[in-house]
Each structure stands twice: as C-alpha cells, then as structure tokens.
C-alpha cells in the first residue's frame, strides 16, 4: 500500500539522517571511544599519554577513596530513588484526585525540576548554612534542638542533606510522569473493583499499581540513571567533602580528571560507571517485559 513511497527510501532516508548522524558520531560515539581509550592511558592535561594497559584500573582497585565513592554513589542512588518513587507516587495519587486548581498545582509542582539545578543547589547551600540555616532557626524556635545543625560538615548529616536536596529536585519529574500514567487508567476499573468490595488499599494494590508498572519502570530507570550520574548538586553543596563522605563517582572523576589533570584516571572512573548504568537499563527492560503478560497482552 505504501510501496509507492517505499521505492525511493534509502537515498533520501540516509540524506535526512546525515546532520543528526554527524553530530552524534562526532560528539557522542567518538568521545565514548576516546574515553575508553583514555582510560587505558596515562594522559594528563597538556601531555599526550602512553598506553599503560589496565594500570589505571589496578590503582583504582586499591584506592579506598574510589571504593568509598562507589559506596556513596550506590547509597545516594538507592536511598534517593526509593524516596523519590514513594513520595512521587504519593503526590501523583493526590494530584489524580478531583481537586480545585488542579492545573495550577501541577504547574507549580514542576518548578523545582525546571529551575537550573546549580541555582537551586545554591539556594540549598544557603538553607544548609552551618550557622544561619533557616531549618535550624525554625527547629530552635520550636525548642526541638538547642544548637544549629551542622548540615554539611558532618559526614552522616552531609549525606542526608545532599540526598534530601536530590529528592526535592527529583520528586516533580516522578510525580508528573506517574500522573500522566494514572490518567490513562480508566476510572471504570476502579468502580468495578469497588463494586466487588475492594478496599481503597486493594484497589491501589491490585488495579492501579499493575496498570502503572510499565510507566514506573521507565520513569525509575531515568531517575536512577540521572541520580547515579549526578554531579551538579554535589559539586555545589559539598564538592565531595567532608573527608570524601559525599564524593560520587562523577565528582571524583571530575576532580581527578580536570583540576587534578589526570585525564586518564578520570576517564577510567567514568568508564567504571558504565556497568552500573547497563545494569539499571537491563533491570528496567526486564521490568517492562514482565508486565505485558500480567496485562494479558500478546507479547
């Protein structure tokens, strides 16, 4: 039926692909290759490197700071993703109800996600100030604490603070995406379940959640990917401190690679993030697959 257009497909097709292909090959595929290569060299800024095999990876393997950054990244991603998912889903469920000024709330709630991360992180920096934090002030006013909290100076507090800031920024994305998914679920399913005597928890657990699984899988993949490779928030708030307690792999890679000048080592740390990212993508891929037969779909 569409054969008439199909006769001359390949030549114009490839021509149309050309601009995007040139960009992506030059500035995405080529750098990926260069990055992998740099990881096997001892390149520094201003000095061409030599091939040194796995030496970068060997030294990283024995580097306690590197392992601390891996631990921090996994902790940061795990805790922040779970919180973002739980709070985001809750917010999505609230917004899915019949509320006055619904579109206004939806617009306002996305603001943390629209504003440049670095600039909102600077606001958090001021909120987390060790002496003049407004949170400490409020808690002292209520009489719950007697001295200001040292948000970013203590390693446990610093970890909790950066996770809180990341969750703050991530909730809107999760909530609005899940809300879009919720709106595709027909209310008649809920009504049918409630006529059958399902409680509100049962309706959520056995109707809403299964219908939402595919969207959850995609949204959480994106969320995990972005959290795992986060750089801006840490760079603004703590620069990896105190005593490397909040160093993520991305910030360590930057610190060693650009100010430290060890491009090879920085690239090796960046490459070391790839297996984790692949694992996250595969996890979501299989999460998506499983759901189709749950729905009685053909695949």
């Amino acid at each position: 039926m569409f054969a008439s257009l199909g006769q001359s497909r390949n030549a114009p097709g490839l021509l149309f692909m050309l601009p995007a292909a040139v960009f992506l090959l030059c500035f995405l595929a080529y750098p990926l290759g260069v990055g992998t290569w740099l990881g096997f060299t001892d390149t520094r800024i201003g000095r061409a490197g030599h091939f040194i095999g796995l030496e970068n990876y060997q030294s990283l393997w024995q580097d306690s700071v590197f392992w601390l950054s891996v631990f921090n990244t996994v902790l940061y991603t795990g805790v922040a993703s779970v919180l973002k998912f739980a709070l985001g889903l809750w917010l999505a469920l609230i917004l899915n109800e019949n509320l006055p000024f619904k579109s206004f709330f939806r617009a306002v709630i996305l603001l943390p996600w629209v504003v440049p991360t670095v600039l909102s992180a600077i606001a958090f920096w001021w909120i987390y100030d060790s002496q003049f934090s407004v949170i400490s002030w409020a808690l002292m006013k209520f009489g719950w604490i007697s001295a200001p909290i040292n948000f970013l100076g203590d390693s446990t507090n610093a970890r909790a603070s950066v996770i809180a800031a990341n969750v703050w920024r991530g909730i809107p994305f999760v909530a609005i995406s899940l809300l879009a998914g919720l709106q595709t679920i027909s209310p008649s399913l809920q009504e049918a379940a409630s006529l059958d005597g399902a409680t509100s928890w049962q309706r959520f657990r056995y109707v809403t959640l299964p219908m939402l699984t595919p969207i959850i899988a995609v949204v959480m993949t994106f969320s995990v990917l972005f959290t795992f490779t986060d750089f801006q928030l840490i760079y603004v708030l703590t620069k990896g401190g105190p005593v490397n307690a909040t160093h993520l792999m991305a910030t360590l890679s930057f610190q060693r690679g650009i100010p430290g000048g060890q491009l090879g080592e920085g690239a090796a740390i960046a490459v070391a993030m790839v297996p984790f990212l692949l694992a996250a993508i595969l996890f979501s891929f299989f999460g998506l697959q499983r759901r189709k037969w749950q729905q009685g779909g053909s695949d």
Binding site: L5, R9, N10, P12, F16, A20, F23, L24, F27, Y30, P31, V34, G35, W90, I94, F105, A107, V108, I109, L110, L111, V114, V115, P116, T117, V118, L119, S120, I122, A123, W126, F132, V134, W168, I171, P172, I176, S177, A180, S194, L195, G197, S200, I215, V218, F222, L225, T229, D230, F231, Q232, Y235, S253, F254, I258, L263, G266, A267, A270, L277
Partner: protein
C-alpha cells in the same frame, strides 16, 4: 428528599471508601489537602527563601535575633544592582541565551530530519537507528565530559561558546528525535500519500505537510531543549575558562563565590535571575512542557 428514596446512593457509600466523589470533606482534608499542602510548601520554600534573601539588606541577613528570617523589614535592590552593574552577570546571561538558542535550533533542525527519516521514510535499518537514538539518550554527560574536553581541545574550540553550541546537541538530538518520532507517528499516512499523488517530493511533503502538522511537537521539543541547555552545567564548567564566556550557572558558582565571606544576597539574586527566563518560558508553555516530559517517558 429524592436522594433518600433512591436506594443505590447510601449502599455505595458504605463500601466505596476513598473514591473521590463519595468521600466526605474531613476525610479529604486529612488524606488529600494536608499532604498536598506539605508537598507544595516543601517544594516551593527554597524559591521563597531565594527571593526573600535576594532583597534583604546585609544587616538583616544573619541577624535572626532582631529580625524574623522569614520576612524582610526594609527590602533593598542593592544585591540586584550590584549583580547587574558590578559583575559580569549580564554577559553570562547573554552567553547562556546565545548558547541555548543556537544549540536548540541546531538540535531541532537535525532532529526533524532524523525523526522523519526514521519514522516515515523507513529506510533499511531505520528501526535499529531508532533504537540507537534511544540508547544515545541514556548516555549521561558525566561520563562524556573528559573525552569531550579532550576533543574540544583538539578541535581548537576550547574556551569558546562554539564548544558548548556543538556539544549540547549530543544530549538534545536524541531527546528531540525521540519526541518528534512520536509526533510524526500520529500524522496519518494518507495525507502524505495524497501529496505524493499530487507530485510532491519528499522535501515538499516534509516542509508543507508534516511540519505544519507537527508544530505542537516542535514547540514541546524546542522548549524542553532550551531548558536543558540553559540548565547544563558540567560541559560549561569543563570547557570554559575565561569569565566572559561563562554561562549563568557556572558564572554564579565560580565567580560570585569567593573566599570565606559569602555574599548570600547577591548569590541568591543571581540564582533567582538566572532561573527567571526558563520559569517564564515554562509558565507560558506548561502544557507543552508536560507533554514533552511525559511523552518521552511514555513511548
């Protein structure tokens, strides 16, 4: 009167706890309005704090004993004036504007052709190219910045706006292409066939039939791409050295933060002013923005 005589209403009320149109007001207040109020408060408070700090005179900034930190006694514009007339801030704003606009247009142009080729020309292997584009979207900037810095240096465009304009499309093109593919899919084939019968070329079909119909998609992709480029940080931090070429997020963080004396007033004013353009853009196109965000996730 009539509602009491009709049987179904009271019967339903017993079982269907929580269904929005049946639940009573006190219950809705506790389960909906109060959590929503907390969410909105937490999500918006940093912006309020940013705004109030940027108009506070310096003597009130840290004097919590005599002035409530949540309000401002004698608002001042000195921080904003300092920012606009005594720092390079206006230049950074201009740079960000130039870079974001140029990168958005480059990315949109390349993406329109690529999306059309993949979705409609269907050349051999277009499915795999589509998949590759999606995978390219998942490659995070924080594993690319070191090799990209290396390449940017080799190309001789280090420390120029051109470096940013050419590298931003690496994350914009995959996103825009993916989004536009979805839009092109929704345009009926028959329209293209009609045009083909009338003797239109591929180019004419794209520019005269498909593009006018895909304007909402173009706006969504454009807005989103502009916001992403405006918010970008790690490339701008790595590739730009000189103050006159910096973008707003990098400039605020690297030039306004000096030494141990934080000038919170001007920092917050810088963060606020730097956020305003994207927030204004967003407020005009909320629905496009939401549709592009959720559209990318849904497919």
């Amino acid at each position: 009167m009539s509602s009491q005589t009709s049987a179904p209403a009271p019967v339903l009320q017993d079982d269907a706890e929580g269904m929005s149109y049946l639940s009573n007001l006190p219950r809705r207040v506790v389960t909906l309005y109060m959590p929503l109020a907390v969410f909105v408060f937490v999500l918006l408070f940093p912006f309020y704090w940013m705004a109030i700090t940027s108009v506070k005179p310096n003597d009130q900034l840290t004097d919590y004993a005599n002035f409530s930190p949540l309000w401002v006694a004698a608002p001042t514009l000195q921080h904003i004036k300092y920012l606009l007339f005594e720092t390079s801030y206006p230049g950074w704003l201009l740079n960000t504007m130039i870079v974001a606009t140029a990168a958005t247009f480059l990315a949109l142009a390349a993406s329109v052709f690529a999306a059309y080729a993949i979705e409609r020309v269907k050349f051999n292997g277009s499915r795999y190219v589509g998949l590759a584009i999606f995978l390219a979207y998942l490659v995070p900037p924080s594993i690319l910045f070191i090799p990209l810095a290396f390449i940017v240096f080799q190309f001789g465009i280090y420390d120029t706006k051109l470096a940013l304009i050419l590298t931003y499309p690496t994350f914009l093109i995959p996103f825009c292409t993916w989004l536009l593919m979805g839009y092109f899919r929704s345009i009926p084939y028959e329209l293209e066939e009609c045009a083909l019968m009338d003797g239109a070329s591929r180019w004419q079909i794209l520019t005269k039939i498909v593009l006018p119909l895909a304007v909402p998609g173009l706006i969504s992709a454009g807005i989103f791409a502009f916001t992403l480029s405006w918010n970008e940080f790690i490339y701008a931090l790595t590739f730009i050295q000189s103050s006159e070429n910096k973008t707003v997020p990098v400039g605020v963080l690297t030039e306004l933060v000096r030494g141990d004396v934080f000038e919170w007033g001007s920092l917050m004013a810088g963060a606020l002013l730097g956020s305003l353009p994207v927030v204004i853009l967003y407020s005009f196109f909320v629905d496009y923005y939401v549709s592009s965000m959720t559209g990318a996730v849904k497919e």
